[in-house]
Amino acid sequence: MSGIPTDAALVAAARSGSDRAFARLVDRHQQAVRSFLRRVCGHEADADDMAQETFLAAWTSLRTLKTATHLKTWLFSIAWRKAKGMARSASRSRMRDTTWSEMQDNTAEPQPEMNIALSQAMGQLNGDQRAAVALCLAGGWSHGDAAGVLDLPLGTVKSHVSRGRARLIEILGVDDD
């Protein structure tokens, strides 16, 4: 038996009031949730803010999680609902941040060219397509699990992934052998 607690054990501890357990859950899942949201909404700061709200919502309704082993799917469902619901306000705050950031010295590390190209290419897909690609192609989720997270029929997810992939290959001009 390993000394690393399972998600179920951490959820049980967090439900009984352990902040340390919840912090470990955040550590364990933050990369996947943030990466997903960054790919879906295309703006790092908005995505990270949404990821924080996702974890806050998870903390608030941790008792509603029926099966602790499905924590990851549940977290991604919350993240996806947040991403859909906050699309308009995120767009407004992005305009505000852009205006603000234009007044600041640009000290952030420049993004590699290909990352920018990928982000722009993702931006050309529609919302559901982007989410399906982010889950299945980037996150390695099965089509079935992604369908559960996105609340879409399996066939629709498969079609989104296939069309989204083809579109990305076309836009980025990468070899598809």
Partner: protein, 107 residues
């Protein structure tokens, strides 16, 4: 998508950091803020209920106070009641209240 998929390498390079203490800290700060807000609501409600009960019972108590306190056992009961209320007030003020929220699917 295979391991050799050209998109996989691109997505890999675009991942959020695997370890990010500042992100964890930001989340836990928000959690602490939410908990404080919830506790303030609960404690405020408890205090308001206690205050209302006091205001409502004060006229009755003051009207019968002299008669009630003529019997020694009633004095002990009253002192015990005040001590119990003080203890409850102190407990509510000093301890974290475990909130058992109803199963609302808000998010």
């Amino acid at each position: 998508m295979t391991d050799q998929d050209p998109l996989k390498a691109l997505f890999k390079a675009d991942e959020a950091p695997a370890v990010d203490p500042s992100f964890r800290m930001a989340v836990m700060n928000r959690v602490a803020g939410r908990r404080l807000a919830l506790e303030l609501v609960v404690k405020g409600t408890v205090m308001a209920l206690l205050g209302t009960a006091f205001v409502l019972t004060a006229p009755l108590v003051s009207a019968n106070l002299v008669g009630m306190m003529s019997m020694p056992q009633n004095v002990y009961v009253a002192l015990g009641g005040v001590a119990a209320l003080t203890w409850v007030g102190r407990y509510v003020a000093m301890h974290r209240i475990r909130l058992s929220l109803p199963r609302l699917n808000l998010f």
